[in-house]
């Protein structure tokens, strides 16, 4: 469905993506793993043009784009087909939970207010926030804010949701509620790319795992292949580091 090829991106002298390719089929849950600084965020941001790649192509059904030269219209098109869930939620602080979810519909997609409200409420119900419609972000816990972030993404009915470490900013006791919501979406067939360090979650929902390091895709495969039979030394090292009792020989 979506193919990104040979994405390169430098910040000044620092080459962060050195030719990364990634393929997503409808219904895929692609988990991207990798040490901090390996370019995972930059890759996700290049897909919806929050970052302008230096080179690379994007093919999505009948859309074929050059990432560097994509026009404003193309950018708008890709942004309508995707949704992004940020590490720091990035909710609109001056809007209630409900308004946060409605805004993407009423402002960017010109959905009538009544209809947007209905869709937004359904999305908030889905993430378990039916009691929190009228709360401002400052009145919600981190886990609740991130669930609003997810509802906001779901409400616009995107073809793919991009998650950038959705639980990294959360206190440990709040991680579960957010992961559960994402798991539910995954099980319903939502196509998604998830950058995360939550290995158990990845093992459970990912049908494809991509390991990145130093601006390259080092290894990719099914969850079973990557977690249980990693071929690359760097993948093994990484898994050993984040899973102290990890034994890939099993």
């Amino acid at each position: 469905m979506l193919t990104i090829r040979d994405v390169r991106k430098s910040f000044q002298e620092n080459e962060v993506l050195k030719g990364v390719s990634i393929e997503v089929e409808k219904g895929d849950v692609v988990v991207i793993l990798g040490p901090s600084g390996s370019g995972k965020t930059t890759l996700l941001r290049s897909i919806n043009f929050l970052e302008r790649a230096d080179s690379g192509t994007l093919d999505w059904e009948d859309i074929h784009l050059d990432l560097k030269h994509a026009s404003r219209k193309d950018v708008a098109l890709i942004r309508k087909k995707t949704a992004f869930v940020f590490q720091n939620y990035n909710l609109f602080k001056n809007k209630t939970a409900l308004e946060n979810v409605m805004e993407g519909l009423t402002v960017a997609r010109k959905v009538p207010k009544k209809e947007a409200e209905k869709i937004a409420k359904e999305a908030l119900d889905k993430v378990g926030l039916s009691e929190r419609y009228d709360y401002y972000p400052s009145q919600l816990s981190g886990g609740q804010q991130q669930r609003v972030g997810i509802a906001r993404a779901v409400a616009v009915n995107p073809d793919i949701i991009l998650f950038d470490e959705p639980t990294s900013a959360l206190d440990p006791e709040l991680v579960g509620e957010v992961l559960n919501v994402i798991k539910t979406l995954a099980k319903e067939g939502t196509t998604m790319i998830v950058v995360t360090h939550e290995i158990k979650f990845a093992q459970e929902v990912a049908n494809k795992v991509v390991f990145m390091d130093g601006g390259f895709v080092v290894e990719e495969g099914s969850a079973n292949e990557i977690f249980n039979h990693p071929k690359e030394e760097r993948t093994q090292q990484f898994l050993r580091r984040i899973l102290p009792d990890y034994d890939y020989a099993i």
């Binding site: 720091n88 001056n94 809007k95 402002v107 960017a108 400052s138």
Partner: protein, 219 residues
Amino acid sequence: MDIGFIVEYIPLYVEAAKLTLGIGLIGIALSLIVGLLIAFIQYFKIPILRQMATGYIELSRNTPLLVQLFFLYFGLPKVGIRISSEGCAIIGLCFLGGSYMAEAFRSGMESVEKGQEESAFALGFRKSQVVRYVILPQALSVSIPALCANMIFLIKETSVFSVVALADLMYVAKDLIGLYYKTDEALLMLVIAYLIILLPISIVAAILERRIRYAGFGN
């Protein structure tokens, strides 16, 4: 202190106060418009206009209003441009105030975290929609204390208008002192007149700031 003198000349001060306040308010309104326009030019990084805006801000902030008024009132006629006293006063105040208001708006807009802007872009907002729905509503509540302070500053600055022969409060006071040597009375009325104009504005500003602080989106 000559109470009779004070009572006799109160109407003169009232007229002058009306003029000061009227021109002050027009100047402030125009400053707000100029300030907002400049803040937009800077936010949208509009080429050429942006460099012009920077130049204007430097010029406006680094020259005294008195000098600006001299230029308008005595300088421009030399090249054939003649502007009335009121016109000079309004243009001068707006020229001065525009840059201060622009800075107030700009710092408010910059206070909104980049992340909110990005999530709006990711949802498909255009840049103008980001400004309208995300940045401005939050920026305004941050900017209001600075905007209020600027308004009070600008009203005070009106005290130099007498140099362009505008019959404002300062002008009347100087006149009375010159004609009758009633310095104490004239100055007392001048101070009171400015207090009567500025105190209500200060009080309204303080209330506004308080309400905004407490209306802060659920904080």
